[in-house]
């Protein structure tokens, strides 16, 4: 899966939790879920569960803690996919 396709899938997953629409329009690798998208920190858990379902992977606690930005999330997802 190329990076662009992965980003698109991630965007679909996070969209329902986003409270700052402008941040979503300007989505880039640098986007921070809490700072830029105003995702409620409690909902980060739900984002990770949705990612697990979408990519059929399991994300351990340590990896989960890293998934605060688009870039870090893509890295985690790519790593888990490669390890499959």
């Amino acid at each position: 899966m190329n990076n662009e396709k992965l980003l698109l899938k991630l965007k679909t997953i996070i969209t329902p939790y986003v409270q700052n629409e402008e941040g979503l329009n300007n989505l880039s690798e640098e986007t921070d879920f809490i700072q830029d998208l105003e995702i409620n920190s409690a909902n980060l858990v739900d984002v990770v569960l949705d990612v697990e379902d979408e990519f059929d992977i399991e994300i351990d606690n340590e990896s989960m803690e890293k998934m605060l930005t688009v870039k870090a999330s893509i890295e985690v997802i790519e790593g888990k996919l490669a390890a499959k």
Partner: protein, 423 residues
């Protein structure tokens, strides 16, 4: 110094026979039952396969919940409570969008017996499968009892007391009196008060197991709930929510709100499971005392009461309740007030019963009627010996009651009685 006056300025209801105040009012005036056969209960081998269940399309929830709140929402009591609560708030002319500064003088007291049972069931399965990490963030929010008051305060921006009371089937009536106290004591100006009750087999199963639900009416559901009748065979389980915006008269006048009724006062107590009282049966002395104290606190005379909205669940205890009212008010035969039971229309909505029935009570005062009792053509002989059967209307009477007493009694031997007056 005279006491602050407290009024009702908004109503909301999600009941088995109507999910808006206007539909509910029409239903109770026309004696439209909200009790129906529930296939799921039959499949699960319940003795009682009927219940009072509010009906609405899933799309309807979009008017109240945002997309995040709707994800994984599996808490019927939360749905009912939020819908009724927001409806009451808007009915009172209060703003839907919360301001950034909390409304420090507006609180939420919204009770329940148990919340999010279906969500909890889902969580139990996952936990038992060793899959706790997959519960998601909303399990706690939907299953904590105070989830209902928490959701409402966030949606409306209420910054005063935000809590959930619980006292079995007196919960809703108790919430109203807690709100009343808060306002009388000048600790708040507005309180959104009410209660909600989840629906479904996991809530109703325990009652079915106690053999206190009717089992002979599965093919004739609307005849099943028979308060005060000689053929009463147990209470029909129900669910839903009722909500009332309770406000100081000062605040209501200042914002030119429409005032539906005044709360003159009331009382809550407990029979301590003594003198015939138990976990499930009332101590009659306590019931009578609760009613007497409510009348006294409201600074009225027992003779001023035009109508009673009873607890009257349709069990063998109904004649005992009537006797308690007779004794507490010192009134009987044709001198007894009109009396009705909403449970004949919607069943026993458990923790939600007190608030749904209080909404019905306030509507009677506001619009001048006494709704008729269903399925009571055969008034119980023990009741007929105490009060004139004309005081138990079988059809809706279009008369203007001035004062109505509303009482609820619950497991744990707890009692609550509130006195409403036309404004």
């Amino acid at each position: 110094m005279s006491r602050r006056r407290v009024v009702v300025t908004g109503l909301g209801v999600v009941a088995p026979n109507g999910t808006s105040v206007s539909k509910f009012k029409e239903a109770i005036q026309n004696l439209d039952s909200g009790i129906r056969f529930i296939e799921e209960l039959k499949d699960l081998k319940f003795s009682c396969q009927i219940a009072g269940l509010p009906l609405y399309d899933d799309d309807y929830l979009n008017n109240y919940f945002n997309s995040i709140q709707l994800r994984g929402l599996k808490a019927s009591g939360l749905e009912y409570g939020v819908m009724a609560g927001i409806d009451a708030w808007l009915d009172a002319g209060l703003p839907r969008i919360p301001s950034e500064t909390p409304l420090w003088d507006a609180g939420v007291i919204f009770g329940t017996g148990i919340l999010g049972v279906d969500k909890f069931r889902e969580a139990i399965y996952k936990v038992d499968q060793g899959n706790v990490r997959r519960l998601g963030s909303n399990t706690v929010l939907q299953t904590m009892a105070s989830g209902i008051s928490a959701f409402l305060s966030g949606m409306l921006g209420c910054g005063n007391v935000v809590t959930t009371n619980s006292s079995a089937c007196s919960t809703g009536t108790e919430a109203i009196l807690m709100a009343y106290d808060r306002i009388v004591n000048s600790q708040a100006e507005i309180v959104l008060a009410g209660s909600t009750s989840d629906s479904g087999p996991y809530v109703w199963g325990g009652f079915d197991a106690m053999r206190i639900l009717p089992y002979k009416y599965n093919d004739d559901p609307t005849k099943a709930s028979r308060p005060m009748s000689a053929s009463a065979g147990g209470f029909v389980p129900g669910s839903g929510a009722g909500a009332l915006v309770i406000e100081s008269l000062d605040s209501a006048m200042a914002r030119k709100a429409t005032i539906y009724a005044e709360i003159l006062g009331g009382h809550v107590n407990c029979g301590a499971q003594q003198n015939g009282g138990s976990m499930t049966a009332p101590n009659n002395e306590a019931v009578q005392r609760c009613i007497k104290k409510a009348v006294q606190h409201a600074e009225i005379h027992a003779d001023d009461i035009d109508a009673i909205n009873g607890h009257l669940t349709a069990t063998s205890k109904d004649p005992v309740e009537i006797n308690n009212w007779c004794e507490a008010l010192g009134r009987k035969k044709s001198d007894f007030p009109y009396i009705n039971s909403l449970k004949s229309h919607v069943g026993h909505c458990l923790a939600a019963s007190g608030s749904i029935e209080s909404v019905a009570t306030v509507l009677q005062l506001r619009d001048g009627f006494i709704f008729g009792n269903m399925n009571c053509e055969d008034l119980h002989p023990k009741i007929e010996a105490l009060i004139d059967n004309r005081q138990v209307p079988l059809k809706t009477l279009y008369t203007s009651p001035n004062i109505i007493a509303k009482a609820s009694f619950g497991f744990g031997d707890v009692n609550a009685c509130v006195i409403f007056k036309k404004y």
